[in-house]
């Protein structure tokens, strides 16, 4: 497994070198966690940034890892492409501890990237980012004709839906027949 620590180096805000004079309490050192996607590239992300993800936040709360344990056991997200996970990590870092703005213009413009990002963000339960992504997906069909909408979102025609339904029924019938035959064989 290769390991990079892109999360903190590229997008996270620099940590203050000295504590503010007015601060009475000593600053608590920030804890970090590690995640990787399908490409196994590990990203180091602060607990503050990961708070955006209800899924990861829940995992952290339940596991109670120390920093050493967290480093040794990165959270695996095998269903998320590496570049998509990188986008998510960057977004979490950029919005760490900040109120989220009403719009986000930095989302990918390419359809397939946005599609993968929506699925990843939904899986990781990052509510604000999901809202932005859904807005962007909705924008794709504004001012389009029904045929253009069909093309953009790959919506099957009625005939295609009917054919798929028939096919699914046929498959289900075959599977059921196979199971019955297997059960009869077992009984013998």
């Amino acid at each position: 497994m290769s390991s990079t620590e892109q999360g903190t180096s590229s997008a996270a805000p620099a940590e203050p070198t000295t504590a503010p004079e007015s601060a009475a309490a000593p600053e608590v050192p920030e804890s970090f966690y590690y995640v990787h996607g399908k490409d196994k590239v590990v990203h180091k992300v602060s607990a503050g940034a990961l708070q955006h993800s209800a899924l990861i936040h829940g995992m952290i709360s339940n596991l109670g890892y120390t920093e050493e344990q967290a480093k040794a056991n990165p959270f695996p997200f095998e269903n998320i492409d590496g570049d998509i996970l990188q986008m998510v990590v960057d977004w979490c870092n950029q919005h760490k501890g900040k109120p989220t703005p009403p719009e986000d213009t930095n989302l990918p413009k390419q359809k397939e990237k946005l599609f993968d990002l929506v699925l990843a963000v939904n899986y990781l339960e990052i509510k604000e980012l999901l809202t932005y992504c859904c807005k962007q997906v909705a924008m794709m069909v504004k001012g389009k004709s029904p045929e253009e909408i069909r093309e953009i979102w790959m919506i099957p025609t009625d005939a295609e839906d009917e054919a798929a339904e028939k096919e699914a029924k046929k498959r289900a019938g075959k599977e059921a027949a196979g199971e019955t035959a297997a059960a009869a064989g077992d009984a013998k």
Binding site: C134, M154, D158
Partner: protein
């Protein structure tokens, strides 16, 4: 990007970000898509007109080359309303523009004409206007079916009124004089309103008398004719000149006897300016019984409008 691959909650959030018109267009793409949209957007479509008995979609195409499609909040016939009853509150769905420089190439409708007051604008060539409006209506009808009424507001009797499935017509016009000659004989109107006093009565056979609701400004002659021949359900009639009570008495007596006007539910006659309404004379003439105020009056239920 395959929309159906998104979990239903994600699909719902995407739909929440679409305008009503975009959802209607999307639902026209396939039966399955319509089903998905209807089930996930139930709340939105229920909340459109929560307090209205009859839901309506109005096409309002004025003298200009622009029209609006909207869902009005108020009912189309309001009691005590003697004014030009333009809907004041509405939820706009779409703006339609017919223009020569429309960039449509081979398409019937240009869907990319931008937004006006936060609702979509579509445009089409004037020569394609009827087909374009039919196509828009078909999309709306495909989505709402006969769960709503579809009303075409005609503000100029010379303009063409499209023949569309389930469409009723409102005539809202400044002057009704000479309309008979130019206005299409069908369909039967849902509502008729005017601003200036009508001075030439319709012929007794005119199907204008079958209009469901009328809010008209009349003179004595036209008021008497309307009272004589009206066959609709609701009428608010304002008379500008001196008024012969004989016509009203005859009308009420025919209504009471049940020989005519069986559909009539509501009548309001207003005398404008300084005309005195001869209340006692009329009440006596139509045989209204005086009740002993110490006794319980009989109850009577009228149909809801």
């Amino acid at each position: 990007m395959k929309l159906s691959k998104f979990p239903s909650l994600v699909q719902k959030e995407i739909f929440d970000n679409l305008k009503t018109w975009d959802l209607i267009l999307l639902s026209s793409v396939s039966k399955n898509m319509k089903k998905v949209i209807k089930s996930s957007q139930t709340k939105r479509f229920k909340s459109i007109v929560p307090n209205q008995q009859v839901k309506r979609i109005v096409y309002d195409y004025g003298e200009s080359h622009e029209g609006l499609v909207y869902i009005p909040i108020e009912p189309h016939f309001r009691h005590k309303s003697r004014w030009w009853s333009k809907e004041t509150e509405e939820m706009s769905i779409l703006k339609m523009v017919d223009r020569q420089d429309c960039n449509v190439a081979e398409k019937l409708i240009d869907y990319e004409s931008g937004y006006h007051d936060n609702y979509p604008v579509v445009s089409f060539l004037p020569m394609n206007k009827e087909s374009a409006i039919e196509s828009i209506h078909n999309c709306l009808f495909n989505f709402f079916g006969d769960s709503v009424e579809y009303h075409w507001v005609a503000r100029d009797h010379k303009l063409v009124i499209p023949t569309l499935q389930n469409l009723s017509v409102y005539l809202r016009i400044e002057s009704l004089d000479n309309v008979c000659d130019t206005f299409p004989s069908s369909p039967v109107l849902k509502l008729m309103e005017n601003i200036y006093d009508m001075t030439n009565p319709f012929s007794p056979e005119s199907n204008f008398y079958q209009t469901e609701s009328i809010v008209l400004n009349l003179n004595n002659e036209t008021l008497l004719k309307v009272l004589r021949y009206f066959q609709g359900r609701q009428a608010i009639l304002t008379c500008s000149g001196s008024f012969e009570i004989g016509g009203l008495i005859e009308f009420v007596n025919r209504w009471k006897s049940g020989e005519a006007l069986r559909k009539l539910e509501y009548l309001e006659v207003v005398l404008r300016f300084k005309n005195r309404f001869p209340k006692t004379e009329i009440l006596d003439a139509i045989g209204v019984k005086r009740l002993d105020e110490t006794k319980q009056p009989p109850s009577h239920t009228v149909p809801r409008m």
